[in-house]
């Protein structure tokens, strides 16, 4: 089984994000960037499937500026076999990424694409579903467990109120949830080996994909500062405030 694992370069989850002064987006200059944590879970799952003998090759993909090669290298250090960088300096919306991935799927013919359920920068939660729709493939989103079964996959999904188990025929799309696994640390010897693994560089035009944005960001602003809470002396006072001030009961 051949796996394609997209990895997105995002602002590190430990960084306190700041909005640009002109309100056009968030500041990314001189900010620590990392692999999207949900994508990291996807890479880990792919490597585990390979270690179990289910997968034979893992191809890590990233779409974005040249610096995305760092996230591909991290995936290679974790155990991916080779990488593809779709280099583009402008904004890439989920639909554009899904189209780029569809073109790569046509080129690479993977049996399974494992994506993070969402990226922590824009929280779109869309690329995996869009890719499944464009390809007409089965999809198992919010996966908390993936098992090979009957020539396909048995995916446990985290849904409101419990867990849902679905059987997928291959080829398929799976998006990862937080509890699927705990990603490994890449060891130093594997980081050094990753230097020698190949990364192919392609442009959206090479794949015949138009990535022109369809959305216009009007304004990005900080959330309003939370007001300080109020202390009440009794339950009666609390109920009174909830009823007459907050008007929630």
């Amino acid at each position: 089984m051949k796996l394609l694992v997209p990895v997105k370069r995002v602002v590190d989850y430990n960084v306190k994000v700041r909005v640009k002064a002109d309100g056009t987006g968030v500041e990314t200059a001189n900010v620590k960037m990392s692999m999207n944590p949900f994508d990291e879970i996807g890479v880990e799952e792919a490597v585990r499937l390979k270690e179990k003998g289910v997968a034979t090759e893992i191809v890590a993909v990233s779409c974005g500026p040249a610096a995305c090669a760092e996230q591909i290298r991290t995936a290679l250090a974790m155990g991916a076999d080779r990488g593809i960088l779709v280099e583009h300096d402008g904004v890439l919306e989920p639909l554009a990424v899904a189209k780029l991935l569809k073109a790569l799927v046509a080129k690479e013919s993977p049996d399974l694409v494992i994506l993070g359920k969402q990226a922590i920068d824009d929280d779109m939660n869309a690329t995996g579903q869009m890719l499944a729709a464009l390809l007409g493939w089965a999809q198992g989103t919010y996966a908390s467990k993936i098992e090979a079964a009957d020539g396909g996959l048995l995916v446990t999904r985290e849904v409101d109120g419990g867990l849902e188990r679905i059987q997928l025929k291959l080829p398929a799309i799976v998006t990862t949830d937080l509890r699927l696994n705990e990603p490994r640390y890449a060891s130093l010897p594997n980081i050094m080996k990753a230097r020698k693994k190949p990364i192919e560089n392609v442009k959206p035009a090479d794949l015949g994909v138009d990535v022109t944005p369809r959305l216009t960001v009007l304004k990005v602003a900080e959330p309003p500062t939370r007001q300080a809470g109020k202390k009440v002396a009794s339950v009666a006072e609390l109920v009174d405030k909830l009823r007459n001030e907050a008007k929630v009961i």
């Binding site: 430990n14 130093l188 050094m192 990753a194 230097r195």
Partner: protein, 309 residues
């Protein structure tokens, strides 16, 4: 190596963030060897990283190693990884290899498989508790051959850890000054406080530059060829520690002295690392003696002629 260094640092920082919280630091100060964390750093291949490939390492350069040590300092360095990496760069060996000062004291000596002593050889030694340090880290003592074989490496290790610790202290102080309010506004908006923090930021930046420069100098010319840069880094980080730790505690006031707040873990370590492998006075004297040996008058021309490492 920059891209690979970034990946390595990301892995190390993630590991430290996961496993070196206040509980670990408190346990370490109570004398508990951080076995779980050490197992993880061994699994990552870090202790032997600087050893050549035939000895099980990956020949990690001193400049890259210094970047890792700065990250360790930022996290309070709950494991003696920097010392073990430096020791294995000089004498590769499996396990935790402690790095002894000329007087026979070594951080976590009693937990070490072996110790690299001042004579440049590996020894198995019976350590006993040494003099208590502000950091409460176990600096153990053993009867070991005297010598200066470990002094330069040890000074660079501790200067790098200080550079990281200083960054952490500055970040804590700036964050605190932005949220702690007095007279209706954050204390960081008072000019007296912001001036102190600005000066501290200058010291922290200088310390980081000096340490990175020393790492690059060792990578190019070896330890003995980079004595001046190492000495300068230890002097600059030591002086910065004195000023930045004082500013940090002044900005934080009472909260900075409480057990529950993180500041003391780092400032106490900074004070201990400042003295380890020679304080700024020790290294300033070395720079002075070297200048005098050149006739004194050549100090400035020598300095100006130094190539940028």
């Amino acid at each position: 190596m920059s891209e690979m260094r970034d990946i390595l640092l990301e892995q190390v920082e993630r590991l430290l963030a996961d496993q070196s919280g206040p509980e670990t630091l408190r346990a370490v100060e109570a004398g508990v060897w951080p076995a779980a964390l050490w197992t993880e750093v061994e699994a990552l291949g870090l202790p032997l990283a600087m050893a050549p490939e035939e000895a099980g390492g990956v020949a990690l350069g001193w400049d890259d190693a210094v970047a890792v040590w700065v990250a360790l300092g930022r996290a309070g360095a709950p494991v003696p990884l920097a010392e073990s990496m430096a020791a294995s760069a000089l004498m590769p060996a499996l396990g935790f290899v402690a790095l002894a000062q000329p007087d026979g004291t070594a951080l976590w000596g009693h937990a070490a498989t072996r110790v690299l002593a001042g004579d440049g050889a590996l020894h198995q030694a019976a350590f006993t508790p040494g003099k208590a340090q502000p950091s409460n880290e176990p600096w153990d003592r053993a009867a070991l051959p005297a010598g200066e074989a470990t002094v330069l490496a040890g000074a660079l290790v501790n200067a790098a850890k200080m550079a990281g610790g200083l960054e952490a202290v500055l970040t804590l102080s700036v964050d605190y000054a932005n949220v702690r309010k007095q007279f209706g506004k954050p204390i960081g908006q008072f000019q007296a406080v912001s001036q102190q923090l600005s000066q501290a930021a200058g010291e922290v930046a200088a310390a980081g530059v000096a340490v990175a420069n020393a790492g690059r100098a060792v990578a190019r010319r070896g330890l003995s060829g980079a004595e001046f840069e190492i000495a300068a880094a230890k002097v600059i980080t030591g002086e910065a520690t004195a000023q930045v730790a004082a500013v940090a505690h002044q900005v934080h006031a009472a909260i900075g002295f409480t057990q529950d707040y993180h500041l003391h873990f780092t400032t106490r370590r900074l004070w201990a690392w400042r003295d380890a492998f020679g304080n700024e006075r020790f290294w300033a004297q070395r720079i002075g003696r070297a200048a005098l040996a050149r006739g004194g008058a050549k100090a400035w021309p020598d300095l100006a002629a130094r190539e940028d490492a």
